[in-house]
Symmetry: C2
Subunit: 437 residues, 2 copies
Amino acid sequence: MKALVIAAGMGSRLSTMTNNRPKPLAGLLGLSLVERVILTARDASVREFVVVVGYLGAMIKEELGDGSKYGVEITYIENPDWHRGNALSVLKAREVLNERFFLLMSDHIFEPAALMEAGSFSLDDREVLMVVDGAPRDYIDMEDATRVMVSDGRVVRIGKGLSEYNAVDCGIFSCSTSLFDALQEGLMQGEETLSGGMQRLADKGMLKAYDLEGRFWIDIDTEEAFRKAENLLCRSLIKPTDGFISRYLNRPISIRISRILVKTGIKPDTISISSFTLSLLAALLLSFGSYLPVLLGGLLVQASSVLDGCDGEVARLKFQQSDYGAWFDAVLDRYADAAVILGLTYGWWFSHNGDYLVWVTGYLALTGSLMNSYTAIKYDTVVLKEQEGSSWRFGRDTRSFLIMLGAVLNQLFSLLVILAVIANFVSVRRLYVLRKT
Amino acid sequence: MKALVIAAGMGSRLSTMTNNRPKPLAGLLGLSLVERVILTARDASVREFVVVVGYLGAMIKEELGDGSKYGVEITYIENPDWHRGNALSVLKAREVLNERFFLLMSDHIFEPAALMEAGSFSLDDREVLMVVDGAPRDYIDMEDATRVMVSDGRVVRIGKGLSEYNAVDCGIFSCSTSLFDALQEGLMQGEETLSGGMQRLADKGMLKAYDLEGRFWIDIDTEEAFRKAENLLCRSLIKPTDGFISRYLNRPISIRISRILVKTGIKPDTISISSFTLSLLAALLLSFGSYLPVLLGGLLVQASSVLDGCDGEVARLKFQQSDYGAWFDAVLDRYADAAVILGLTYGWWFSHNGDYLVWVTGYLALTGSLMNSYTAIKYDTVVLKEQEGSSWRFGRDTRSFLIMLGAVLNQLFSLLVILAVIANFVSVRRLYVLRKT
């Protein structure tokens, strides 16, 4: 299915944020609003876009180009009447859309899943589907939202001023071409808004409703909504597999860093490599064995662990995730772990005239650490499927934190013993836990 | 779909192998013929079986029971007329089969995929599908095979003596209940064979043919066919991911061992643990450092590597594969690798007054070895999808072989250096190779 994206308006209420640029180009966590809508739809398998531009349209066209940089195809329709109602923008695309299409607003941010489900909803040839939110969260501006009354799976009334309503319009539609007829009809009677056309479809019983049931969406009309969207997107970066240290120490910091990083052109892989380099430097410092470099090394290990969260965060915020990227990061992490444990084993042995037991312990700590990661691949898949939320883990976040603690307390040998015991225990425990599933 | 399994005959030609037991109970690589047919069908998602017994039927019923030990449901039908034609055995099941079912012979061994594809073949309500082999391999006894003439996707003639034919009957069918009518009709005219009934269906254009296109099947009627089947099943145990050492040194030995092991009740997990224990013993011997124990340790490492193939082989031959079992084996292997490298590092350091560089090298060899296994999880999935056959690997088979070589030559330090360099190089190379896919 193609998607029609309406990006013709001026967005006067956001003028403080747009600096004489059209609202669809307002930057939200490293992507303009319209880019984010296009990339969200791309994640829902849409590959062809028709973008209606109006106010400062040339600027939008220059920014998005033909879509090849996003791996999609974008064609443009110009609407010189952008200052009039948005029905006109939709109607301009009538000539190029003769099959079912998605209709999206450039200022409505949402989850890909909402669009995917709208796309697989069963409809007859003439029906239009409106995605609605039957239980809007507190961050939805109910004063400004387009309210709808849904009855028996169909929208019956629609309007901003509706006093009786049970859902709000999310600005996401799966449209048949009958929408154009309804809009044209409205236009003849002086009604220039999209909602007007939708009301006409509703009157004929042709407007179905699909409730996105708690999935994320937001209409970005004000500076406040803009900030809300940023915070909500950032909060969604916390993963169910995140351990305690990651959730309460690393993420709060890494997300702050990622918010800055998304505004630069820095790629996730570059962040992975930077975090890896930091670990190598930490390993070198730890290998000196004396307190000051060990302390610095320990702090660097923790810093690297924080930065290690940023590659994935930036990738997700900018739609740059890839299987390869995640794996590349994971392999670098394992080598970083190995380097750090080697550094601190050597450092302690060298500075404390240690015997071979230091080496054996370091060796066991390394084995445990790598086996933790090895067994996690299967464990996380199985356990995540079976139970929501966090499971019994001894992840990299915890190991790195313990290393920092060991360095601060200058107790690297005890640390190695602890790592060796816990990491191997956790790995072997997984053999037992998974046997029972 | 249910499966009807014909296990009523005596199999006089195999009497030398059956020792007064009915032919369906003849043991082939640890499973009786009829067990193997049932387990093959289970792999093709069949859960309900109707088994027709005749000659020594009580023995078969006692052996298979209600099927719960195979995770399926088995009901029995007795055919006291088992010495007459096999059409009678099929007809006995008429009462209990009123929907489409698979018809299988207890002495026809085949790949699950052949049955799965037969099951998903599109047929109308009255049609019967015969799985045929249009290009029978040299191990199919053409003198004894039931020959068929296929034209336009339909079987037109069928019979052992057919002089003109273009395929052979594999003894696997997807049947509608119209088969019973055809058999009944035949019976009235004195025709008691299944082939006779099939010819009647063919005459009415109701017998479709599906060519299994090179998939494995064999009809086990003679001692020769029996041996052929054993050898072919064993040969299929060589995996596409097998490295050079595995393919040409380990497998030929491990398959010979597995052929013995399948006849015992030893479970795959027990074999994994035995191989692991052998590795721990090897690690202990290597840690002594002096030549004799090191030599023994090295040989044990190779022995453990050979035995490590048997768990998977036995599991596949006896339909005992499980995701968990494969993973359990893999985790034990990693710990075995770690133990062996620790043993030989310590042994060399201790017996050669080595300095910390021995430990550092052992450390790098361990990292490389574990990272090899860590990266292989993704590498094998991606590369196997893209290209058939073997890829650039440095698997456990090769590493274990090198360790044996190092022990025999008493050059454990050089060995550690080689392991450290190659294993890490191979792991890092994968980052590069997969980036480009």
